[in-house]
Symmetry: C2
Subunit: 696 residues, 2 copies
């Protein structure tokens, strides 16, 4: 069949529409499920309201921030309006495209949150009837998020490209997605861990009451945190990665020769990935002898297989390049391998978690040392996986014949399509990921609603599956981010060259590049440190607030019926603090990029991006995996091993988990976003760095 570009715009928009319709069906389905328990309805309402409070305030600040950026873009990008050869329509298009990126991501996050807060209570009540219905509500609630996020990404990218034709305008869209992700992921990450840490410190440690005891004034904030950090934040993060992968593939595709075949392929692959995910989601359920973990994992594999089959069919049908298909397949397969490796380091049925739990018997210092060590080791397989998939894709597309046909950028296009391949099943991944906080909430609600031991046990099993699967999906998304930023490096180079830089590459023997590499490598460490210190500072404030409530509300500590904690005060502390702490961290990363650009010009920025990517990948893998390992080690001890609950090993494991919390839920996953933001800032400002710099 003779493919045309319009055909693929049509296909993309059609598949996105199917995703939205399916999401709407699932939403209605979830809403129809029974929610009768008054206490649960009440608490679920509190959680929903808390999440809304945070989102409203966050979006308000974001609106100001985004307006400022939009005006700056309007004036400066892609070229300052006063400069020679500037085309005003492009500046307008980029500013509008930036706003679209922000708004679409915000809508997706908000809708996902709405459904998540409908699902948690219903999943808890369904737990009384058994694991299968409870699982299905949790999973379908998460799927709504997955479908909307990826639907918005596919729709947004296709629509913007259809209107403006120039892929480089998409950088604005992608930057919009990134700036929202920075707020949602890092801000949500600070919020969730502030509440979690403060609730644990005052509840579990000081009073010895259970995790979700309603006496604790931080308990609602803690549950709100799961939603804003893990649902909305994670969704924004993956929206960002997904858009960035498509954007960089499209920017590179437009530099290639031989017509628009390559652009079509990007659109086609992204749409087919979404389609495969829709089918994977529709068929996911617990089989007769199955467990929730198996159900989640097998639907991931089904989606992957469908994607490979669909794209092979499309390649045959439309005469696309099999080389690129092979790159995408490599990316997807390596993604699965990275996920499995992550699983090996964080799953409590595997030896590493057991070793870490065993180390806890010698005291908390050994829990920490063991987690740090295995966290470091766990980075190796993913780094090798990313390195190999980049190298293999490059070699597949780097033959002389192909370069002669498509141009020197073709191998880079192969790498960017490996990233698209790895991210193809992202809707499925988000569904799995959003399932986690929903059932985590459900567990809390089952306890607060007094649904009985059996329901709590079911909810516990669902929750544990969420934790296990989270590790796999996190490995996946870090891997994909790694590949994406490699292609963003290529995007930066093309943009700088378009602005007249005439760069053939970034030579590490050039000390200007090297200068950038060293500074770039330090930034993820500084960024993480600032976020972790932010959590720390914030949690101390919330602990003070909780103590104030214990001291001034009579009967609260003793658990008297009529003593009501002021949940909203705690939510307020977390909200204010999260937004205040995240802005300096984000600014440091952005200002460092700009500073390096003005000092060393594009060469230094290229090095900066490389250093940032490399150390960012290393640290985010380390922190995410070490955090997951500590969390599951604690759960392993709590399941009665190494002395069980209340033993010295348990105390040590709890300390490990507390350290791991901001690692895995605040800093680790936010680094991804930091890398993308910095890469996009660099690409957007490339023309300015080419023009103004001291040493370049």
């Amino acid at each position: 069949m003779e493919p045309t570009l319009n055909m693929f715009y049509g296909i993309s928009i059609l598949v996105a529409a199917i995703a939205f319709l399916f999401a709407a069906y699932l939403y209605v389905w979830v809403k129809r499920q029974a929610q009768q328990n008054k206490r649960i309805t009440e608490v679920a309402r509190l959680i929903r309201e808390g999440a809304n409070t945070f989102m409203k305030r966050e979006y308000k600040i974001l609106a100001i921030f985004a307006s400022v950026i939009a005006v700056l873009i309007l004036v400066l990008l892609p070229k300052p309006i006063w400069s020679e050869g500037a085309e005003i329509w492009k500046n307008v298009a980029m500013a509008v495209s930036y706003i679209c990126g922000t708004v679409l991501s915000a809508i997706a996050g908000k809708l996902g949150l709405v459904v998540a807060s409908l699902s948690n209570g219903r999943s808890a009540e369904a737990a009384k009837k058994g694991i299968k219905p409870a699982f299905l509500i949790g999973f379908r609630g998460g799927s709504v998020m997955g479908l909307i996020v990826v639907g918005c990404a596919v729709l947004g990218v296709s629509a913007v490209l259809m209107v403006v034709k120039e892929a480089s305008i998409l950088l604005g869209f992608s930057f919009g997605a990134s700036s929202l992700a920075l707020f949602a992921k890092a801000g949500g990450g600070i919020f969730t861990k502030t509440a979690d840490v403060a609730a644990d410190l005052t509840g579990k440690v000081e009073l010895g009451i259970a995790e979700d005891d309603p006496r604790n004034p931080a308990v609602i904030a803690d549950n709100v945190g799961d939603n804003v950090g893990d649902v909305a934040g994670m969704g924004a993060d993956l929206f960002d990665s997904n858009v960035a992968a498509m954007t960089s593939a499209l920017v590179i595709a437009q530099t290639l020769g031989a017509g628009e075949m390559n652009v079509m392929m990007v659109l086609c692959y992204a749409a087919l990935g979404l389609l495969a995910s829709i089918l994977g989601i529709a068929t996911a359920r617990i089989t007769k002898k199955g467990t929730p973990t198996k159900a989640l994992n097998s639907s991931t594999y089904v989606t992957s297989a469908l994607f490979l089959a669909f794209t092979a069919g499309a390649t045959a049908l439309f005469g696309f390049s099999w080389h690129i298909w092979a790159c995408s397949a490599t990316g997807l397969i390596v993604g699965v391998i990275i996920g499995l490796a992550t699983d090996y380091f964080t799953d409590d049925s595997k030896p590493i978690v057991k070793k870490c739990a065993g180390a806890s018997k010698s005291g908390p210092a050994f829990t920490i040392l063991s987690g740090v060590s295995y966290g470091f080791l766990s980075a190796l397989p993913a780094m090798i996986g990313i390195a190999v998939s980049a190298l293999v894709s490059y070699k597949i597309c780097g033959t002389e014949a192909l370069i002669a046909e498509y141009g020197a950028n073709y191998p880079l296009f192969g790498i960017s399509m490996a990233a698209v391949g790895m991210l193809s099943i992202v809707a499925m991944i988000i569904s799995n990921d959003a399932y986690g906080p929903i059932v985590d909430n459900a567990r809390g609600l089952a306890e607060m609603g007094g649904l009985g031991e059996d329901a709590i046990r079911v909810a516990d099993e669902l929750d544990s599956a969420g934790n296990t699967v989270k590790a796999v999906t996190k490995g996946f998304s870090i891997g994909a981010a790694g590949l994406t930023v490699i292609s963003l490096l290529g995007t930066f180079m093309s943009e700088a060259n378009a602005a007249g830089a005439n760069i053939a590459g970034f030579d590490i023997m050039d000390p200007t590049v090297f200068f950038g590499v060293l500074i770039g490598a330090a930034i993820p460490a500084v960024f993480s440190a600032m976020l972790i210190l932010g959590v720390d500072k914030n949690a101390q404030k919330m602990v003070k607030e909780i103590h104030r409530q214990f001291d001034t509300i009579p009967g609260l500590k003793e658990g008297k019926e009529d003593a009501k904690p002021e949940y909203d005060k705690c939510i307020d502390v977390a909200t204010t603090g999260a937004l205040r702490e995240l802005i300096p961290a984000g600014l440091v990363a952005i200002l460092a990029t700009i500073g390096v650009g003005f000092i060393g010009g594009p060469a230094a920025v290229g090095g900066f991006l490389l250093g940032n990517i490399v150390s960012g990948l290393l640290l985010s893998l380390f922190m995410s995996n070490a955090g997951g390992l500590w969390d599951n080690s604690k759960k392993y001890v709590e399941a009665g091993n190494e002395g069980g609950k209340g033993s010295e090993a348990h105390k040590a494991a709890v300390i490990g988990d507390t350290v791991g919390d901001p690692f895995k839920d605040t800093a680790g996953p936010s680094i991804n976003t930091q890398i993308t933001v910095v890469s996009l800032v660099a690409s957007l400002l490339s023309a300015i760095f080419v023009q103004f710099n001291i040493f370049g």
Copy 2:
């Protein structure tokens, strides 16, 4: 004056001879000091014997290892003897030069250890008379090590070059120094922390007895550890850095045009650095109103100023290039700045230590999170410092006129001379660094010998100064290693080109390079993880051994007079374990280099070295500084702050310190050595990688 190469060989050898004579004088001076206390003499003897046991076994394994490597070098390097154009004499020279590097480093380590174990007891006894005499014995004992190490380095490098004329043969010498450093630093690091951790766990934590209580069977091993890890290990590490800096400067100097002026300059600067250190050491003492910290720091500044003055004089006298002088000066000044920044993060009179101690009040998880965060932040100034000194040196030497006169490698020579400048005062640094473990031992001996409260207080003050200064010198040596490996990257490129690779640079847009970067970046993390896990495993074994002694030796736990612990058994556990754990870690690093070389050829290896350097610098700064921060936070709490000894904050701070121990004394500083070893392996095998590889 018309300088000649022979003149500078003469000067180097003369200054080295002065250093040896002065060291001999100090040795005799230390030996003449009184040591009368029987208990101290006895314990000092035990420490000496323990250290000897370890060194003997280590050197035995090392001899086997070095023999195998020497044979491999003889057959393979610089070119396989069967290959065309191979010159047998070069292979012989390189093998011999390798052996010389190993043996000189071993001798320096051994002699340093002998003097350290003479000084500790004498310093303890002098503490009864006051702080000044006790300080002088500790410092002069350490200075012997500093003088011998740098004397051997200057002598060795000059002598080898004088005989073989070709600087690339020095790579063999440097590799010899590195392989010894890997054993001494990593092996010694595992030894010292095994003993320290096990002694703390059983003594302080289980029994609640003091740090140096003679009942504890691990107490001698702990003191031995200070000597083999901090004295011998640190000496070997800095011998290695110093030799590597000179070697890479000399290799690059020989590629430059305009005669042998540049080679002379390297020899001259190294010799003048040693001379400046000799004078600095000779004049160091506590002034009337001074403290030990001030004495140590001011002698560092005196040495730095002398070096700058001497080299300026030599530059004027011999007509050397002022550009290169400026590079050296930049390196030295940046080194001092890095040291001061490190001090800011680890000195207990500065705010960061106080904040970390304050965080301990909320429990150990916050101690850890705070230390990790500030550890990450602390990497930034050093990374910027290294980046700036590389960039500035490059710009100073990168003018068109200079490149026309000396060739394209001149800017790289500037960078290597910045490293030489930073390391010029290394003899002073080693003296300060070796002072630390000597007075640490002295403190223990004062307690074991029952010298009374006053002497212990004096010893405490000396010890605390050692800790503070250690941070500064550590920052210095990591910074210098960073600059050195940049020039080693240049060395690798020249070597690969000499073998016919025709590399103009390493482009990070080339996925083969990128592949190397990602793998290289993972290696320091894996290496550190293996060392830390090694300490952990070993410490568990030693705890078992201590429990066995407590259970089977009657009256030991109760502290009866005639119940003697079997100190040697603990030393045995530490020795065997250290050597067993370090070899796989070293092999992983070396095999990864070789694997990457065979897969991707020289381009991948270039990337590998870059990734290794960048992540290695980041992680070693992080771990060294976080460890120092936790150590000093604990001391700050023990000084009566935040609740003082026995408080919850103290318990938390002790946990932080236990985590920090293997960070700062095992993994952190060993990464330096790992980077150098890997860089040298790459340079040595460059010809083979050029010939045999899959994707290059």
